[in-house]
């Protein structure tokens, strides 16, 4: 082979060694040792630089050297280092196509890697200029590959930073989720802790209202009951909002009669409007279907909140509710528009968006004047969203507001609704006196239940925990058990499970068990029923609620 052909073939082989990896060190490691072997060199060093003069600064360590330089270039190659320092000080300028320096009978070839680096080859005998020229073309390719590797490393670093930031955000999100969960658990616990004494306050108030009291005492007792109810509403709002935030609130769909629901919901609000001398009327358009599938409780909650707000913020004039059918619903569905119009104080345009945010009211003076948690609209808005609609407001400050929302319902058959028990002002004696076992650890609630049940003619045996309840059940075999869920020693769930197991093992008749609990979650009802209980009453309850559930279960 001619020398030229040999040179070209070597050049070609070298060119193919360039850029075999995107990691700079790996790429140089795949390039340099093979290059040294092809060129019959002893060693080689590669520097990458910024093409700038660095006067008075030591020679930087090479980006890669083969073989490795132990102790650094200055220590292992002091003479070469001294030469290179001058070149660095001169802005890395090297003669083209390269220059050769002789140190102790060794020839060091200084070859520029484009304008970005320097390759130093140790070879005896030295390379001729033609070979260095041929190498120059390969080293231009090497420069491009090096810059690509550096760019890749930069992008990798940026990607790593982005990944770290994303990870930090995820961790922050997880922490927030954890904190939110802790908050929800705390609220649920607080709710339980507040509901338990509230049951005592409200129940004893009820009990006193059923007894002979003077008109002034009755007025005071009514005020206690009203204040208690207001406090319970606040707790319920906070609990609802917490459930919405944690995503644990779900709608309970069941057939409902829209007109019956409205008829049942609005009378207390009518009373409140009347107290403020406001006109209050509502209208359901004739084409709105009545039999719908929806969560009656939550729809009622939304209407009470919006109408209640309208009455609260209106000093004169009227509050009107219209219910109309919207077009565009899918087959088998109805899209119903609810609009609540008032002639109240209205809301400034810049405040209209924020009122649906939690803990926000139009301004602080509203809170001071009208009270409230600021959660009602946020909860209503979320519930409307869950029903497939949007809650919106149009308002003219000083002239009133219209809150309207649409909700999508599946059409269904008319539900069978039990006749509502009429409110009674006196407690009727029980038709059938019952032997009742009451398991309740709270002394006040225990006393309240005993008094109330005794007052209507029932006979009550008390137990202070689940184990005592089982023991008493074995001895007394009562007609019904009222079982608190949270008790020391053994809770109501465990006690109920054991009672049901023993009944099954001994072939005994099942004793009805009614859960009494200050836990307000729907999951608690499910847990009670799963443990074999027959019914569930949430604290605080009024006297009639308790008597109704007893009647329902024992009949």
């Amino acid at each position: 082979m001619t020398p030229t052909l040999e040179l070209i073939s070597i050049q070609y082989a070298l060119a193919l060694l360039v850029g075999q990896d995107l990691d700079l060190r790996t790429m140089l490691r795949k390039f340099l040792p093979s290059t040294l072997k092809l060129l019959n060199c002893r060693s080689g060093y590669i520097w990458l630089h910024q093409h700038e003069a660095v006067v008075g600064v030591d020679l930087p360590e090479p980006a890669y050297s083969y073989p490795a330089l132990h102790g650094g270039v200055a220590e292992s190659q002091p003479a070469l280092s001294s030469h290179l320092r001058r070149i660095v000080a001169n802005g890395w300028q090297v003669k083209k196509p390269g220059e050769i320096i002789q140190i102790d009978s060794c020839y060091y070839h200084l070859l520029p890697i484009g304008t970005s680096g320097l390759l130093v080859l140790l070879r005896n005998p030295p390379l001729p200029d033609t070979h260095m020229l041929a190498l120059g073309l390969v080293l231009k390719r090497l420069e491009t590959a090096c810059l690509a590797c550096l760019q890749h490393a930069y992008l990798n670093e940026a990607r790593q930073e982005a990944l770290l930031a994303q990870k930090a955000a995820e961790q922050a999100h997880q922490a927030a989720v954890q904190a939110n969960k802790a908050k929800s658990e705390f609220l649920a616990m607080m709710s339980h802790e507040i509901r338990t004494p509230m049951n005592g306050v409200m129940g004893l108030t009820d009990l006193m209202l059923y007894s002979e009291v003077s008109p002034q005492q009755r007025e005071y007792l009514d005020m206690i009951k009203s204040s208690s109810r207001a406090l319970l509403d606040i707790i319920n709002e906070i609990l609802d909002f917490s459930r919405i935030e944690s995503g644990s609130l779900t709608l309970n769909y069941a057939p409902l009669s829209l007109r019956e629901l409205i008829r049942d919901t609005f009378p207390p609000l009518t009373l409140r409007a009347k107290e403020k001398a406001l006109a209050f009327h509502w209208e359901v358009a004739g084409d709105v279907p009545d039999a719908l599938d929806g969560d009656a409780g939550r729809l009622r909650q939304i209407l009470i909140n919006l109408v209640g707000n309208a009455i609260k913020f209106t000093e004169r004039g009227e509050v009107a509710v219209s219910v109309t059918l919207q077009s565009g619903a899918a087959v088998g569905q109805a899209c119903v528009l609810f609009a609540i119009r008032d002639t109240g104080i209205g809301i400034a345009p810049d405040k209209q968006a924020s009122i649906f945010q939690p803990f926000q009211q139009a301004d602080n003076s509203i809170t001071r004047r009208y009270g409230g948690t600021g959660l009602g609209l946020a909860i209503s808005s979320q519930l409307v969203e869950m029903m497939g609609g949007h809650l919106r407001v149009e308002s003219d400050p000083g002239n009133g507001s219209i809150f309207h929302f649409s909700a999508v319902f599946n059409l269904t058959v008319k539900p069978q609704t039990p006749p509502l028990a009429s409110a009674r002002l006196t407690l009727l004696q029980a038709d059938r006196p019952l032997d009742i076992l009451l398991a309740e650890d709270n002394a006040v609630n225990r006393m309240l239940a005993v008094r109330l049940l005794s007052k209507v003619g029932h006979k009550v045996t008390v137990a202070e925990n689940g184990q005592e309840a089982i023991d008493a059940w074995l001895v007394k075999r009562p007609d019904v058990i009222l079982m608190d869920m949270q008790m020391p020693v053994m809770d109501g769930i465990e006690a109920s499970l054991q009672i049901r197991q023993q009944e099954q093992a001994r072939g005994l008749m099942s004793t009805p068990i009614i859960a009494l609990t200050a836990n307000a979650m729907s999951s608690d009802r499910d847990r009670c029923l799963a443990a074999g209980m027959d019914d569930f009453l949430s604290k605080p309850f009024n006297a009639q609620d308790l008597l109704d559930v007893l009647m329902r279960t024992c009949n």
Partner: protein, 383 residues
Amino acid sequence: MTNEHTFPLILVDTEGSDEKLFEHIERAILAGAKSLLILACDANAFTSNQLNARLQRIPIPVFGGIFPEIVAGRSKLVRGSIVCGLDVVASVYHIENLSDPNEDYLVHAEQLVAATVPGATLVTLVDGLSQCISTFLEHLYEALGARNQYIGGGAGSLSLVQKPCLFSNQGLRQDCAQIAVIDWPISIGIEHGWKKFAGPFFVTGAHDNTITSLDYRPAFEVYREEIEADSHRRFSRTNFHELAKAYPFGLERLKGSVVVRDPLRHEGNNLVCIGEVPANHIIYLLKGDAESLLAASSQCALYACVQVRPKVALLFDCISRVLFLQDRFTEEIDNILDVLPDNVPLIGVLSLGEIADAGHTCLEFFNKTTVLGVLGAGEEECA
């Protein structure tokens, strides 16, 4: 050959028995040897079960290997062993998994930096049938560089069945590299005598020690065409080695030099060599004649016999040169001994690949090459 109480103490057994081997080991230890180099023939059929327990009881460092054949003075032994007692302590290190392409040999080699004295000779033996020998040597040189000198070769069996072939104080070892650090200088000659006759070819496909394509054509197809045309003989199912032993490959190096790669066998259209062949390299077909090979051995000895006060000459000569030169191989040994001073004993092996550092290039793995190293205690003309 035996020269008691003068080191190096060289004890040769021509029977190839384990009893004789350990008898010689015992004698060397009693004579005051500080480390032992053991060279043995594959035909001895030494096994781990046979040797390991006794090797583990040797109180001084042991290194060496089992090779196709060994050389003691003018004798080429097909069976037998050599125990060479040295009056210098050799530090012996091993790097395992020499066939694992995912092994990072650099990490292990860097650990040797602190353990090796600059200027010391590293007798580097490898299991010659391992697949990553060149990669290992590349990393060894990357870590230690020119601060040390290297000589060695590939141990193993010409049957090409990989088995334990390196002596150590832990027993026989397989698929590993052995680095014995001896704090003596060495001068080295490396020659092969093969000449380019066809090419250049471009290695368009290769992995480890297997060439899959040359000039974008199946490797064996290209090889067969060239060899059959030159030799006027045809490859059959059984004669691959008989023809191929005279036609090795040469990896291109600048200024006409080549590094020889010996084709071991063909697997379909792939050619398996002793030592790695990098892809995208220029490669030639080489051939030689007895005269050129024998001239190379004389030249090799001349290069090796300079600037040291010689104590012992170590020969790593490729077994394929024996197969090629056949009866005339004795002339190769004679050529070397003619140059060596009379008082310098020659011991060596016929190896599966040779390892050496020529002094002006990087460390390489050679095939079909003669590597002669003269270990000495000082700098002085040989002759």
